[in-house]
């Protein structure tokens, strides 16, 4: 691993992103627009939005970053640039961290739109510190990048790559506590829920919405998200083959 190569990779990915204004617009606008829709879906019952709204800070960045990363990596593979890079001194972790850093920048921008709009225009109320919300949201976005990289390290075709979304992300959304409280789940689902990193983001965001500080519980949740993201990057780097058949 070499920080120079990692940062060069980050810069290159951001340059590519800059050439694609429509993707930037979608990344910035989509989560906010969907959160706004959610707000008006529960127009009659503001309490539901107060309960569910903060969780969107975790779910939307995870989903968008996962999809963008999967496709970007797939393009790198089918375009032959991945093979070219594999003949250079670039370490696989340089590539993966390069992606993680670049899309973290995108995630910060995404949250910089989502958070103010939610708080000021959609009437979202949170008691906890803003920096903690941003931290959790960015870490979840990095988790999305890491899982996207891991998923596409396994996928060999476009069809497999797109199905990584329902395979890796939807179960997390179902079991994270958005639809039913986690402690009401049976032992099997409860265990699965405990194994899914998004559950910890939802726990942290839910607590930050109602408690004024950043407690040890949220610190643990945050550490779990960061740990899983890092582990996914390392496993992704290990599973990405330098040689193919």
């Amino acid at each position: 691993m070499n920080p120079r190569v990692t940062l060069a990779t980050t810069r290159r990915i951001l340059q590519q992103l800059r050439r694609d204004p429509r993707t930037i617009a979608l990344l910035l606008v989509l989560p906010t627009a969907l959160t706004a829709v959610l707000r008006y879906v529960f127009d009659d019952d503001q309490a539901v939005f107060t309960r569910v709204g903060p969780l969107m800070l975790g779910i939307f960045p995870l989903a968008t970053m996962f999809v963008v990363t999967s496709v970007a990596t797939l393009r790198e593979r089918t375009g032959g640039t991945l093979e070219r890079l594999m003949t250079t001194p670039l370490a696989k972790l340089d590539l993966l961290l390069g992606y993680a850093l670049a899309f973290s920048v995108a995630a910060v921008a995404q949250i910089a739109v989502l958070l103010p709009v939610s708080l000021l225009l959609l009437g979202l109320e949170v008691e906890g510190p803003l920096w903690a919300l941003v931290l959790v949201a960015v870490l979840v976005a990095v988790l999305g990048v890491a899982l996207g990289l891991l998923g596409s390290a396994f996928a060999r075709t476009e069809f497999q790559a797109v199905q990584m979304f329902p395979a890796l992300i939807l179960p997390q959304v179902l079991l994270c506590g958005l639809f039913a409280p986690r402690d009401s789940m049976g032992p099997v689902l409860g265990l699965l829920s405990d194994l899914m990193p998004l559950s910890y983001a939802v726990d942290a965001l839910r607590a930050l919405a109602v408690e004024p500080g950043f407690g040890s519980g949220q610190a643990v949740d945050t550490a779990v998200i960061a740990g899983v993201a890092l582990a996914a990057l390392l496993v992704g780097a290990a599973t990405l083959p330098r040689r193919t058949g």
Binding site: N2, R4, V5, A8, T9, R11, R12, Q15, Q16, R19, D20, G79, G80, T81, E83, R84, L85, M86, T87, T88, P89, L90, R242, R243, T244, G245
Partner: protein, 239 residues
């Protein structure tokens, strides 16, 4: 010090459950342009991929610059250009090459140098996706030349190019060889064979001949290398 830049010996490669290279052996010394000739499907690309170390190999060995192909110590000393351009279509020529130069740890001057070499200075700030196929191919080639690699592996670099440009590229290949690099250049067009210092003819995953163009002409009794190839195939079938 090893004299061979590339030493392939007894190389077998299996792809999709089928053996596509059946025990390939040859050497490439420094300063030589080796032409890897053969029809489409003969295993040229697979062999090149084995040399640059991105191909899973069933048995045999490929040594490059004194180390196993793909070894950490040789990555960055080997330039590789795939047949279809492996560059970022949404970046400019300069941005593409600057990235690959950063990956190789090269100074900024390296980028301008290769842009000049492949004659793309006038297009350096254009987005690669907006270039013609031939220009894109040259960006791909420029990326393979970054940092003055000791071994340059080019997969069909002249396909689809006009004769003037093809002439210029072959002159460039010999220039690079004269500077001390070894080049392995694949082609399925026999008329290009005459431009190489030495030829390895590949057919259905076996080496049909390993000779200079002159030796090949003499051995088959024809001046036409296309005919020479056909005669070799016929001799092989009879044997």
């Amino acid at each position: 010090m090893v004299n061979s830049c590339v030493r392939v010996s007894g190389l077998h490669v299996v792809r999709g459950g089928r053996e596509v290279l059946h025990g390939i052996s040859f050497d490439v010394p420094r300063g030589q342009v080796l032409g890897l000739l053969g029809p489409s499907g003969s295993g040229k690309t697979t062999l090149l991929r084995a040399i640059v170390g991105v191909q899973v190999v069933a048995s045999g060995s490929v040594d490059v610059l004194g180390a196993p192909a793909g070894d950490r110590s040789v990555r960055g000393r080997v330039g590789y250009a795939t047949q279809s351009p492996a560059v970022y279509g949404d970046l400019s020529v300069r941005e593409n090459l600057a990235y690959f130069a950063d990956v190789l740890g090269l100074p900024r001057g390296a980028v301008a140098e290769v842009i000049e070499r492949v004659d793309l200075a006038a297009h350096a700030d254009r987005v690669v996706g907006a270039l013609s196929g031939g220009q894109r191919g040259r960006v791909n080639l420029a990326a393979a030349l970054l940092g003055g690699p000791e071994l340059i592996v080019l997969d069909e670099p002249t396909v689809g190019l006009d004769p003037v440009l093809r002439e210029r590229l072959w002159a460039l290949f010999h220039e690079l060889a004269a500077e001390g690099a070894a080049l392995v250049v694949s082609s399925h067009v026999m008329e290009e064979a005459g431009r190489c210092d030495r030829l390895v003819l590949l057919r259905e995953g076996v080496v049909l001949a390993d000779a200079t163009p002159a030796e090949l002409r003499a051995g088959t009794g024809t001046d036409d290398l296309d005919q020479a190839f056909l005669r070799l195939v016929r001799q092989e079938a009879q044997a």
